[in-house]
């Protein structure tokens, strides 16, 4: 990696364009990104770099052949918790929480919708999550908060399961999860 903000310098001859780059190294691309969801565009433009610097979230950018931003995703850490009876369960020696990797956002440029870019981004997100989960700090699952019903359907196609009752209000999609073991098997298929 280099320290430039010029995306053309990030992909010297011979380097695979599919490689992800940290958001802090391509700030010029962030402000112009449009995925069709203002909240996802706004976060990338105004908060991603700060989250990166503070160590709150890692943002990865997918650069297209035209050197524009095809999409992005961000990862951070999270925990699945027992809501009720947690203390009682813990007293009995049962786990009260499960460490997880949180797929906080995943967005595709609006002009590329319907072309399979979201699946590529998700494959990369699973790979990065598996790397993190198999590092010194373990994680057993990948969590996501789908932005809407269409997003829930997208994740379900990759075996994410809804966590019933995790939604904070009616009309909001429940969180979903994928076991890290399943994710690792999908990553192996993507990399074959």
């Amino acid at each position: 990696m280099n320290d430039t903000n010029d995306p053309s310098d990030l992909f010297p001859s011979g380097l695979h364009r599919l490689d992800m780059i940290p958001a802090t190294q391509a700030t010029d691309l962030l402000a112009s990104f449009q995925c069709g969801q203002d909240v996802l565009d706004g976060w990338l433009a105004t908060r991603a770099a700060t989250a990166e610097k503070l160590g709150m979230a890692r943002t990865f950018l997918l650069i297209g052949p035209d050197r524009k931003l095809d999409g992005y995703f961000c990862l951070s850490s999270a925990t699945l918790m027992r809501d009720r009876l947690r203390r009682a369960a813990e007293r009995q020696g049962m786990p009260g929480h499960v460490p997880a990797i949180l797929l906080g956002r995943l967005a595709v440029a609006e002009t590329l919708h319907g072309q399979g870019i979201g699946s590529i981004l998700l494959a990369h997100a699973l790979e990065q999550a598996c790397r993190a989960a198999h590092g010194p700090a373990a994680a057993a699952m990948i969590l996501v908060h789908p932005i809407d019903a269409a997003a829930s359907r997208f994740y379900a196609k990759f075996d994410f399961r809804p966590l019933s009752g995790s939604e904070p209000a009616e009309g909001i999609e429940p969180a979903m999860y994928l076991p890290i073991t399943t994710a690792a098997k999908l990553v192996m298929l993507f990399r074959q």
Binding site: P65, A78, T79, L80, K157, D159, P168, K185, L189
Partner: protein
């Protein structure tokens, strides 16, 4: 888009404060309140994307633990989709040398 009417009650002091702020931005009261409330709603609804704690019932938690213990293989659909993603990636993001 279908429009709906909102009826609100607030103290005179609150309304005066809102009007001052709206005037400072060159907006009328309605536009200011809708903009402010919309921004707040988006903040609330999107803050969950970063929420590091997800709470579920005891029953759901135990179902998840059992699922994790199975170390499940991916479904046929997921396998198909990830393979197609690989093909799409190879096609769009060719090596540049």
């Amino acid at each position: 888009m279908k429009q709906e009417r909102l009826n609100l009650r607030a103290s005179s002091a609150t309304v005066a404060r809102i009007d001052q702020a709206a005037a400072a931005l060159g907006q009328d009261r309605t536009s200011f309140m809708i903009d402010a409330a919309t921004a707040r709603a988006e903040d609330v609804l999107t803050s969950r994307f970063d929420d590091p704690l997800v709470f579920v019932s005891d029953a759901v938690f135990d179902e998840v633990l059992a699922h994790l213990a199975q170390a499940p293989d991916p479904s046929a659909e997921a396998v198909d989709r990830i393979r197609r993603a690989r093909l799409t990636a190879d096609e769009r993001y060719k090596r540049s040398q």
